[in-house]
Symmetry: C2
Amino acid sequence: MELDERKLKILQGIIRNYLDTGEPVGSRTISKYTDLNLSPATIRNEMADLEELGYIIQPHTSAGRIPSDKGYRLYVDNMMKEKEQELKEKEKEVDDMREFLNEKVDKVETLLKNMAKMLANNTSYAAMISAPSIHKNRLKFIQLSQVENHKMLCVMVLEGNIIKNKIIDVNEEIDNETLLKLNILFNSNLNGLTLEEINLSIISKMNGQAGAQLDLARSVLDAVAEAISSEDNLEIYTSGATNIFRYPELSDSSRAKELISTFEEKQMLSSLVDRDDDNREIKVYIGEETPVKTMKDCSVITATYELEEGVQGTIGIIGPKRMDYEKVVDTLKEFKNTLDSVYKKKE
Amino acid sequence: MELDERKLKILQGIIRNYLDTGEPVGSRTISKYTDLNLSPATIRNEMADLEELGYIIQPHTSAGRIPSDKGYRLYVDNMMKEKEQELKEKEKEVDDMREFLNEKVDKVETLLKNMAKMLANNTSYAAMISAPSIHKNRLKFIQLSQVENHKMLCVMVLEGNIIKNKIIDVNEEIDNETLLKLNILFNSNLNGLTLEEINLSIISKMNGQAGAQLDLARSVLDAVAEAISSEDNLEIYTSGATNIFRYPELSDSSRAKELISTFEEKQMLSSLVDRDDDNREIKVYIGEETPVKTMKDCSVITATYELEEGVQGTIGIIGPKRMDYEKVVDTLKEFKNTLDSVYKKKE
DNA sequence: GTTAGCACTCTAACAAAATGAGTGCTAACA
DNA sequence: TGTTAGCACTCATTTTGTTAGAGTGCTAAC
């Protein structure tokens, strides 16, 4: 059996309608809703076919049809494409947004929190933003200072003015001279490098220069590596988790609890964060496709943003499977563009 | 009508029972449950009195009674006192906890997040911890460095090793010498002072010393003031928000949504944060008493901890009105003690 | 002051019946 | 051959009625 033009139109009708109402869609509705001018009976035949093909599902015998994951997938892949244009006209908005964001925001953290909130408000779904992963990011400089007797503060500034602090416990006393020396040592060797580039050869080279402060230098190096790379370093901001209560199919206690827990334990979202930079597409996960098992009744759309060259993070929307894919994709593109340019254009 | 011994005992019985079961308590139950050896009929008479006095409520005619806010209040104020002892024996636990916490925790932030999680797990209610309010906190030192051409990084370390960063936009070029001078200027004038003490007289004194860099110094000072004092600086960590789903009386969609939104928008919890240091008691808010309106169906228990002299924050538990007050108060005391000592004993 | 007894109330649980949306199938039609 | 009207059927939802049980308040007796 083939998926001809007409079946496609009917499927589209079913999905569009279901996105609106959240209720199973019957043949009668489609008969009126589409411009095909077919009787409900004919629609029914087609629907039976569509069901056999796996695009729609009947929750129970005497109900209308709802899209299956496969149906949504088809919809997202093929039917949405038509809308690709008209993205231009939103450039203005983006500018407005950028202006607003520039005002009060000097910390990336605050920027991202705000973005998450706006994203959730704009879409009525739940939003997440991962702080840019810095493992490809370049070190701008390091500043060591003494905090108390056996404690040093190590401030690391990364490309994009992301700041990391770490307090280092050291065994020895540190005098000012040593501190100065270490500062110079680190800054002259490490600046401008990514974590990946700070590897064995460089470390051994530094070992040679460190001289008496070898131990000290090593513990600083450890700290730097840990602060920059450590897994739990992946900050994720979320907003609008409670938006799921707008959708009855996600609102029953157990489902809601599971979902909201996922947002609370933000680490559980880390599998949504895209770490490979090759693929910059917008990704749409439908139902079972999502990497987060607790979200199998949801759809997830993610995009990768880039604050500066190599400083990438992920923004995402989590909503019901019947979410407004087109709008979300558009919104996500907008936000992605804003984030992409907020720091770059500034300069 | 008086609240005699017997009525008190019956009230206590009702509350205890209701805390356990969450179901309205009938006269029959109390007749068996207490050691008063009274028939259900007698109990009924007493219950009618208790209702008239406002301590208990009948959800509907043919149901048992449940405690009113006033009833809970009486219970918390009078009946719980008996348990005051036996806090000693838990000292060991506290030590264990401290050990665990010291291990991986170098940042206060991480410490508090962990504490919140433990608190929620320990109690099965929702937990919140406010980061210590630093407005009475002392500045340990300031470190200015140049990030890019017209940007300085200002790192402030406060007593308790709380670290604040701020990137400052400046108009002029800054050379190394100026930077050094400013660093010395700030550190020699501001160190060891609270924000409140950094006031006009000091600022004017500094103005005199700043010389050519007056503008620069002023913008740094602004930044310091803003970073230290700004209102939205109040960080609050929460955990276990979804625990409310354990309690049917809080689980219906609208209530749950409201509550969980409150946890998501953590600013809404700020009214629970105790800013006046005089009163270090554990506070119990029952139902309508709580300062957060969305929590009128909950009870809230808070305590103030003190990481170091003057570095105070609030820990709190939010749960159903029928929460286990005694356990929560105990647990909160424990955690408070741990936090009170975690940094102090370390030295 | 306490209690047994009783009529009464109201909820929760269950079952039966009515409703209605939607289907699949067949037969007729163009 | 594709389309449609008609009809019997299915099944979730809603409505209605019934019952059981928990609990009460009140009265009268102890």
